[in-house]
Amino acid sequence: MIDSDTIIKQLEDKVKGFHYDAKTQNVGKVEVNHDGVITASGLSKAVMGERVVVSDSVSGVVLDLTEDSASIILLDESSSIKEGDTVRTTGELLGIVVADDILGRVVNPLGIPLDGKPGIKKGTLMPLEKIAAGVVDRMDVDTPLKTGIKAIDAMIPIGRGQRELIIGDRGLGKTAIAVDTIINQKNVAKGQKKVLSIYVAIGQKQSTIAQIIGKLKEEGVLENTVIVAASSSDPAALQYLAPYAGTAIAEYFLKKGEDVLIVYDDLTKQAWAYRQISLVLGRPAGREAYPGDIFYVHSRLLERAVKLNKENGGGSITALPIIETQAGDISAYIPTNVISITDGQIFVESELFNSGVRPAINVGFSVSRVGSAAQTGAMKSVAGKMKLELAQYRELAAFAQFGSELDPETSRQLERGKRSTELFKQNQYRPLAEEYEILSIIAVTRGHLDDIPVEDISRFESELHEYAGGKKHQKIIERLASGEKLKEEDLKLADEIIKEFKKGFTK
């Protein structure tokens, strides 16, 4: 039997930390409800971006303020909201509660769990909108972020803190590149920090999101990943806010000095959602009916990708935004905007995809403006000329179609090009560790594949990796994995392994 003193003590403990404040609220009334966007009178003290509650049940965010009204986007089902309903301010900017245990979870942009597990209630409230870190807090991109995709790591390298756009038509493997990159983060290179991943799904089908979650789970990387999902059936407001929510989660880990990779899949759909909201709000429509501030919507988001200096924890946010083009048109409004904001782009092309080159990366149109500074010495020493050689091959191949007479040097370049192209083909969900990527590149650039039939290249490569992975060759593999610039003797050692393997390789 508990005595009365204990009961009182327990009650006292429960109310410890409780501070009484008179409740003050700023209220208004719904005047118009336009498919998820309401106009409310009153709310004289509301501020831009403030969270409000309509009819004590539906949350919204203030997006426009005029002298006597406020426009609010609703974050929930809005059909029950009618004229005259009460709108109350909360005094909070829209944010998401983040704690360490958000890793491995699937949440919506408001932090509400979508995976059936309990919600994250105790944690830090991270604002969705935040001004990006200033120049004083930043440092140069100097650490590589490995995608595990040979073509990217060798020719379009990405650094931690970089913003690299993945652009191309639908169904060409943009998401595959991003998902492979997330999967590859389970391989932590020696002496480097692990990378946490955030995948933001915007306006996608629920089935596609479920498929990606399933794959990440299967590959064992979901525990280091957060999925922020605003599917095509969610209100436009949630689709618009999803990338900001993902970034807010990334900033929580950034504060702790972690390296974070964030994938926005895709920003085209976010732009569509914002266009829809803006048109309903009655904002003037500009090019392609997008509002005038669509550039700022993307630039303020991507500017939050950062590599902080040591004094600020040294963490980083690497952003991989995805943009979907129509018929390969990269000169449309949103693609050109995002190309100009980011530090480079990976362009996937339908012609390459249809001719069996997968990932269908067009090396000529793809570029990484800051990543080469982050590329390891080892990769730099073998992949330096690859991009140029491949571009030359494409040119030559186009010309070679017109004539049969070719000089020996051109023929050699064409044959080498065919093998390089074949080597850069890579199966989905099979990211490679850097040492094996380097070994493959050595094999092709130093002519070891010149006498191997093109159709055997893929088998040659996988068997070579298996052969080199044995204990006997551990030293050279470790050397390649060290990231240090390779000396001539290292390359010779690699040559020897490849030659030795070739003796036993049956064509």
């Binding site: 109310v15 409780f18 008179a22 003050t24 004289s44 209630k121």
Partner: protein
Amino acid sequence: MNRQTLKQLVLASYTDSELDARKINKISDLLSKKELKLYIRALKNSEKQNTILLEVPSRNLIDEGSLQDLFPDKRISVSVDPELLVGMRFQDNDDIFEFSLKNTLDKITEHIKEQYD
């Protein structure tokens, strides 16, 4: 009709801080249907700004005279809400101030719930 004109019409609708029915009728006769809608809304807002809505658990608990001293330029409209238990809730334009026992108890409940979670 711009905002400035609307404000002037609203100001012109008052005589000694009270709405003047004669003036309002005269103004409304001159307005189109669309303008009339805006005028009614503006009048409502103006009335809202000039009125304090006071809710108390019982009329016996307040002294209306001293309250009028606190808000000399505003009209006070009192209503009864026994759920407040003790204290009062009042609305000045679009601000609500709640000093009631019900609010305190609600906050304690909320706090305990958070502790449990």
